[in-house]
């Protein structure tokens, strides 16, 4: 019996590993087919294996790691700001239909305004340094979080809120003890959208506001100097960072939110 258990566990872990490998393998495969099959101009799409080799090289050399860390730190700052400011705002917004209808304009307005178009304004407000980049990414991520949390609150199950109210819980308590948890699944959807968006905005800011480090800087440099493997390698690393961040959120979610759909 323990033998069977061990082998099923092993099997399960094996299956998990295979599942995790499918995505990257598929990406490389499609890429390789596009490359080999000449579906795309060969001069502008490098071989996936060359790209991986060169990327591994620059990771070992440390230059990629440095850019990676700079971008990661910026994303971490902006997402932290966005969460701390966004979750309470979303709860308040979602809890009151009139407030929501009043402020929806602003949320939808800014969600639909490209962050890049607002760069000049943010440069103006926050200067040229990292702060402007972090601010614009935090703002974009904040909007997503507010939006998702507010939705979660609006779709919360009324019976649970009523139950807390019947016990004499005040608004603040109901927010903290019930609505916060009720909206958790939706909040995590928001968080995962937000973390990807923050990464995108940081990279775009690094590309277009200009920076001397970070993956965005690396991408645009490689683009301009026609270092194709470096460019696609940097994009790969950026995507991998996004996946990694999403995966960590997913783990937190799976560990923490056990009740969704119940």
């Amino acid at each position: 019996m323990p033998n069977v258990l061990a082998s099923t566990l092993k099997n399960r872990r094996l299956r998990r590993t295979i599942e995790l490998a499918v995505g990257p393998a598929l990406l490389v495969l499609i890429w390789w087919i596009a490359f080999k099959g000449q579906l795309v101009n060969k001069d502008l799409l490098p071989s996936p294996f060359d790209t991986l080799r060169d990327t591994a090289g620059s990771i070992l050399a440390g230059s990629m790691t440095r850019d990676f860390l700079y971008t990661l730190v910026r994303v971490a700052y902006s997402i932290t700001i966005a969460i701390v400011a966004g979750v309470p705002a979303g709860i308040v917004l979602g809890a009151n239909a009139a407030v929501y209808r009043s402020l929806e304009f602003l949320v939808d307005f800014f969600r639909s305004t490209p962050a890049t178009a607002l760069f000049p304004l943010f440069l103006l407000l926050f200067g040229l340094g990292d702060i402007a980049k972090i601010a614009v990414a935090a703002f974009a991520a904040w909007l997503v979080i507010v939006f998702n949390v507010a939705y979660g609150v609006m779709n919360a199950r009324q019976t649970r809120i009523q139950a807390a109210r019947s016990m004499g819980a005040g608004s603040l308590r109901i927010f903290r003890d019930v609505i916060f948890f009720e909206t958790m699944p939706q909040t995590f959807v928001g968080l995962r959208t937000a973390v990807s968006l923050a990464l995108v905005v940081i990279i775009v800011a690094e590309m277009f506001i200009g920076a001397t480090d970070g993956l965005g800087h690396r991408i645009i440099d490689a683009q301009i100097s026609y270092s194709l493997t470096d460019m696609y390698g940097s994009i790969l690393v950026a995507g991998a960072m996004g996946y990694g961040l999403n995966l960590s959120l997913l783990f937190i979610e799976r560990a923490f939110i056990h009740w969704s759909g119940r």
Binding site: M207, G210, Y226
Partner: protein, 319 residues
């Protein structure tokens, strides 16, 4: 109306219109192309232009290398063209140069500062920040400029990459002390009255005079497959270049239609230095070579490139 009248019969005279795809940037150096379109020079030559506006120099080169387009009319990035040639040799041919010069009194770039700024030259930038067009080309040039002024680009000056659209706001808002900007940024800044040129054509004074940052480029594929059409394209651009050089004041009226420049900003617009294929001479080639050599010196180009080999020749055009 004369253009219209003459275009009618000319078109009728063509048995068949040749389709040619052009990719271009909305900048001053492309003026000759705008004029060729406005004057219907291509149509008269039985060419139907598929005109694609792009926003970054790299996209122009990508489109050419990727064989999505046949030629980049005046204004394709001169440095990046050679960079592309070093990666994909034999893909592109240069058939014209655009830029500015001190002797010829044509503006290409400038050091842009606030009106009340004390910065007069690159030497004054010690401890200050300088913005420039993002990417390796202008970082290389900027570093070279700073080094030539006796400063250390790594210590004395904070170099800041700034997208073209953000350069004037950055100077006006004080987020950078100066920018090394390409036209029309300088003209727009001066027209707004919120900034001025501390130096005009600083790059020309250091690297080569005249200085070329733009080029007319076509693909060798286009040249090989349709040499006759390619020749007609070159001729049309040359003709338009002559028109612009002869009477910029008249032909600059076409610019607002193609670029961000507003009609009310035209008065202060600087005239670019445009060289057609038939005009290119030894001075032009030397100047271009000087730029490319700096790329090599700064390690951006792995090997030295002789620009002469990359230039279109009369033989290529079969004449």
């Amino acid at each position: 109306t004369t253009a219209l009248l003459s275009a009618g019969p000319a078109q009728a005279a063509c048995d068949k219109m040749e389709k040619v795809t052009a990719v271009w940037l909305p900048i001053m150096q492309t003026t000759a192309y705008y004029v060729a379109l406005e004057e219907k020079l291509f149509e008269k030559a039985c060419i139907q232009i598929e005109s694609v506006k792009l926003e970054s120099p790299n996209q122009i080169i990508d489109a050419l290398v990727g064989e999505r387009a046949d030629f980049g009319p005046p204004g394709a990035a001169a440095g990046i063209t050679m960079l592309a040639e070093s990666k994909f040799p034999g893909k592109l041919k240069v058939f014209g140069l655009q830029g500015g010069g001190i002797k010829v009194d044509r503006i290409n770039d400038g050091l842009i500062v606030k009106p009340e700024s004390t910065i007069k030259s690159f030497a004054d930038l010690k401890g200050k920040s300088l913005g420039h067009v993002p990417g390796i080309q202008w970082r290389t040039i900027s570093r070279h400029m700073i080094r030539s002024a006796g400063l250390d680009p790594d210590k004395d000056v904070r170099l800041q990459e700034l997208a073209v659209a953000m350069q004037v706001p950055a100077v006006v808002g004080g987020t950078v002390d100066a920018t090394l900007s390409l036209e029309p940024v300088g003209s727009v800044a001066v027209a707004s009255g919120k900034a001025k040129r501390a130096m005009t054509n600083p790059v020309a004074s250091v690297i080569a005079d005249p200085f070329y940052s733009g080029a007319s480029v076509m693909t060798t594929k286009f040249l090989k497959e349709r040499p006759a059409v390619a020749r007609k394209v070159v001729e049309a651009i040359d003709a338009a270049t002559d028109l612009v050089n002869a009477d910029f004041a008249k032909y600059k009226a076409a610019i607002p239609k193609y670029t961000p420049i507003k009609a009310d900003q035209l008065a202060l617009l600087a005239q670019p230095y445009l060289r057609g294929f038939k005009d290119l001479d030894e001075t032009d080639l030397k100047s271009y070579q000087a730029l490319v050599d700096i790329f090599h010196a700064e390690g951006v180009l792995p090997a030295r490139i002789d620009v002469r080999e990359k230039l279109l020749t009369k033989a290529d055009l079969g004449s």
